[in-house]
């Protein structure tokens, strides 16, 4: 017995469908938003692109790296500011250049952006910045569009993968035409939604050559004052451009309701309010006042639907328009059809949906975990036993902040751990050993200046460098410490020990993260040292660049006393068996999932965990 569902067939002869009508004229590819952005940049003739990985933006640079190296120099930069500065340099040299980053990456790069906006561009300069509404994989939920206002640079907002390609391409033209960096703002939902995209050819651009113009290129006060004035003129020109641009699209409806929207929020509005007038903003900064007036005058009620901050809403209110927005829709969290429906119901525009029968199942929490065999696990097991005060950093290891490892006390931003620990030490009130833990990629991103600072100011802290030989959190990207670049070519490999010694640190130990005895012993010795000590935990990530799978371990149920020590590792390959010992659950190992790191066997007080082979040889 089957139940069948049939979708509405696509009418290839209808004149208004955009998706497939010209399928014969140009190629279409299923692309994720991030891949479409990369494709758009490549088609626009981008010559240099640099970025630091960060969810949800990572795949942009990975995709660009798949285009021929002769077309585009795509590379991983050590951090977002470096990435933007590299792109700025290429723009100075007369080539089209791009950088991509997650929203918080722009905080790192903002220093360069705030000057560059005064300077403008030579070759087109585009920043793709991907916000993370709903905080799927970030430390905050900031709205990049505020940077558009702050830096007075145009912000384009694609709503799907096709627009991601088209707008990225257009961004280079706008950049060169108006002498400005341009932000293309994405969101997690745009970045990670795949749909069919019409693609085109690459347009090669001859280098414009370096433009010698110190008054424009060198930001000393006398020059900067002049350039600041130029920004206001540029803003006017951009507004004028948008008054006539297809980026602003009025989709006529039959109701006298006008909805101003952009980005992926547009797709929810179109689905829920097909009868409304929709003003789709392809750019949220600056705003074309006449177009907005025309739209507002034509309808009885105007509602702004925008994810996160009320940027367009406030701007429209300043222009004197009567609009609603955040009184109906939340300022936090990711939009979804359900969130938009609730807001439209509140506005009285949709009938209140009938309440659903409450689900009679209670979802079991399944928080993300450090992988089976993750080399970070042992360090945090030991730090917890040492009763250390631990400042953490950004990476997979942030997961050690929750039970059962629960060994991280603070996490702020990329590279914060070492200077946070320094501050705690200077405050002088902490009785526990103060330890900063930081991953290899994060150390190279923003961990070196605070380490120099810690030595310079002579504080008593221990720094644990969790070197898993990859940028793991974002899916396994190379960095200077891996000895490979974005295209997988061999390059010079950063020597952490030499680097750290050159800073002036003498207590430094590199240990195998799977040797629990050494991990306990040297972490304790390091915290007893008076000064800055560094422990390098050395083991590759179990997922990248190669998936590691060793001989699995097994619990000898006869010997297991259910003490739960191994369960304190939080290893996903460990769970309970249905046997009890003195009322305590015995443990079993999911052998296909176990990679054989042996940590559980090492921490087991009763020696009941052994390699599978040990059981088989005993019969």
């Amino acid at each position: 017995m089957t139940a069948q569902i049939t979708p509405q067939p696509l009418d290839h002869n209808s004149g208004n469908g955009e998706s497939f009508n010209d399928a014969n004229q140009s190629e279409t590819l299923p692309l994720m938003g991030n891949e479409a952005i990369a494709r758009g940049a490549w088609e626009a003739g981008v010559k240099v692109a640099a970025a630091y990985p960060g969810t949800p933006s990572t795949e942009i640079m990975e995709s660009l790296g798949k285009f021929p190296a002769d077309d585009v120099k795509a590379e991983w930069a050590t951090n977002e500011k470096v990435g933007l500065d590299v792109a700025i340099g290429a723009s100075f040299a007369g080539s089209r250049a791009m950088t991509s980053m997650k929203h918080v990456g722009l905080n790192v790069a903002a220093d360069a952006l705030m000057s560059q906006t005064y300077i403008g561009v030579n070759g087109g300069l585009v920043l793709v910045v991907c916000d993370d509404p709903g905080i799927h994989s970030s430390q905050n939920e900031q709205d990049t569009r505020i940077y558009g206002h702050l830096a007075m640079v145009p912000v384009l907002e694609p709503s799907d993968a096709q627009e991601a390609l088209d707008f990225t391409k257009l961004a280079f033209d706008i950049s060169e035409r108006f002498d400005t960096p341009v932000i293309v703002r994405g969101t997690t939902r745009l970045s990670h939604t795949r749909s069919l995209v019409r693609v085109g050819e690459r347009h090669e651009n001859a280098s414009l050559g370096f433009n010698e113009n110190p008054q424009k290129n060198v930001m000393i006060p006398g020059h900067a004052r002049l350039r600041h004035s130029a920004l206001f003129e540029r803003e006017q020109q951009l507004k004028q451009y948008l008054e006539d641009s297809d980026l602003i699209r009025w989709e006529h409806g039959s109701q006298s309701i006008g909805i101003v929207t952009m980005s992926t929020a547009y797709s929810y509005v179109k689905e829920l309010m097909p009868q409304a007038h929709v003003l789709k903003l392809g750019a949220s900064y600056p705003l074309p006042e006449n177009r907005l007036r025309e739209f507002c005058d034509a309808v009885d009620r105007v509602i702004v639907v925008e994810e996160l901050e009320p940027i367009v809403e406030n701007e429209m209110k300043l222009m004197g328009f009567e609009v609603e927005g955040k009184s109906l829709f939340p300022r936090e969290g990711e939009f979804s059809p359900d969130v938009i429906r609730e807001g439209l119901e509140k506005a009285g525009l949709l009938e209140t949906s009938k309440p659903r029968p409450p689900a009679s199942v209670q979802a079991m929490p399944r928080p993300p975990l450090l992988c089976a065999g993750c080399p970070h696990t042992g360090a945090y097991m030991a730090l917890r036993a040492l009763n250390a005060r631990v400042s953490g950093d950004i990476g997979c290891y942030t997961l050690a902040a929750v039970e059962p490892l629960k060994a991280i006390d603070t996490t702020v931003s990329m590279g914060s751990s070492i200077a946070n620990a320094t501050g705690m030490a200077l405050a002088g009130s902490e009785t526990r050993p103060i330890v900063a833990t930081i991953g290899d990629s994060t150390f190279l991103h923003a961990g070196i200046p605070p380490l120099i600072n810690a030595v310079y100011n002579n504080v008593n802290i221990t720094v644990v460098l969790l070197d898993n030989h990859i940028t793991a959190m974002t899916g396994g990207q190379d960095h200077p410490g891996t000895g490979r670049n974005l295209r997988g070519e061999e390059v010079h490999k950063t020597d952490y020990e030499a680097l750290i010694r050159s800073i002036g640190i003498t207590w430094i130990k590199k240990i195998d993260a799977y040797n629990m005895g050494n991990v306990f012993q040297f972490l304790r010795e390091a915290t007893l040292y008076n000064g800055v000590s560094v422990v390098i935990m050395d083991r590759p990530c179990v997922l990248d660049p190669v998936k590691i799978k060793g001989e699995p371990f097994r619990v000898d149920a006869e010997a297991c006393t259910g003490c739960q020590t191994c369960m304190n590792l939080g290893c996903p390959a460990l769970s309970w068996s249905d046997e009890l010992f003195e009322g305590h659950r015995k443990v079993k190992i999911d052998e296909p999932n176990c990679i054989g790191c042996s940590l559980c066997a090492q921490v087991s007080a009763t020696n009941c965990i052994k390699p599978v082979a040990a059981f088989e040889s005993n019969g």
Partner: protein, 310 residues
């Protein structure tokens, strides 16, 4: 089973009443690493080849680390929203039992089809209770409980069947086979799409798994589905009554030689050294009477006395 009679050759010949509906919504869920994205790519590719507009939306990053993973696939004439509203999924495909339960509220109450692999991936989070006789925190619901709550429920231990075919990983393809009976596309087009994503060596097994999935739906009438007979789903670990057999540890201060072993090995971290560096039980409320300290103390300074029966 004759495909040509049961499954119409092209979407155009589908019943007009059904065609009037909007986009078809398929939600695919599971645990990080199970292949949720692969399954949704097969479906999205297939729908694209059939000439539909398709949007496939997922979340990367931290969710991959053994957490809950989902992928929305929507296809039809015009698709705006990349995500499916609550209660609007036509098909919910779950690669793991508890994950299927998590997303049940997305299924259409009157007509939704729930295709679920009954395999259970128990997270460490569910094994955290330290009380005597504690049960696991894994979902308590059984297939029998759920079958009454959804319009259509296809529950099968796909991994086990695929294992019998020779490769447990083909379980996802078995689920695709079940899904293929619910969406009106020719079976061979499904097979072509699966071939694109299956590892070259495993194509044969995947084709068998696909057919097994289709056969399963053909031969099972949900109305007389008997979970006891049709499923080998282990029951969750239940809580059992178990009175503690021991008193809290007592420490003989004269015998303690400050070696710190008990402190280091206590799974609950409830022991510490006092100012004189002698072991003390500083957090008796956390002690689970596991007796590790008693067993490991080289000087027999720690003792847990049997509890007097009342």
């Amino acid at each position: 089973m004759d495909d040509s009679t049961r499954f119409s050759a092209s979407p155009q010949s589908a019943p007009a009443a059904q065609a009037a509906a909007g986009p078809v919504n398929v939600l695919i869920v599971g645990v990080g690493g199970q292949g949720v994205i692969m399954v949704s790519k097969v479906l999205a590719t297939l729908c694209q080849r059939q000439g539909y507009e398709v949007k496939q939306s997922e979340v990367h990053g931290m969710a991959k680390r053994g957490g809950s993973v989902f992928s929305h696939v929507r296809f039809g004439d015009t698709v705006y929203s990349p995500t499916i509203p609550l209660g609007e999924a036509d098909v919910l495909v779950a690669l793991e039992w508890a994950e299927g339960l998590r997303w049940l509220s997305y299924l259409k109450p009157d007509s939704g089809i729930f295709i679920v692999d009954t395999q259970q991936i128990v997270p460490p989070f569910a094994c955290r209770d330290r009380k005597h006789g504690a049960g696991s925190g894994y979902a308590r619901e059984t297939v029998a409980d759920i079958i009454e709550q959804v319009a259509n429920c296809y529950a099968v231990n796909a991994g086990q069947i695929a294992q019998e075919l020779g490769n447990a990983k083909a379980g996802n393809t078995l689920l695709l086979g079940m899904m293929s009976t619910t969406l009106d596309f020719p079976a061979d087009d499904w097979r072509d799409a699966i071939r694109m994503f299956a590892p070259p060596k495993a194509v044969d097994i995947n084709m068998q798994a696909f057919d097994r999935g289709r056969d399963w739906v053909e031969t099972h009438n949900p109305a007389d589905f008997d979970p006891g007979r049709d499923l080998d789903m282990p029951p969750p670990i239940e809580q059992v009554e178990h009175e503690p057999e021991f008193e809290l540890p007592t420490i003989n201060r004269a015998w303690c030689k400050r070696c710190d072993i008990c402190v280091k090995f206590c799974p609950e971290r409830c022991l510490s050294l006092d100012e004189q560096q002698i072991a003390v039980l500083h957090a008796p409320e956390k002690c689970t009477l596991c007796r590790i300290c008693e067993r490991l103390c080289p000087d027999f300074a720690i003792d847990l006395k049997p509890r007097q029966q009342a």
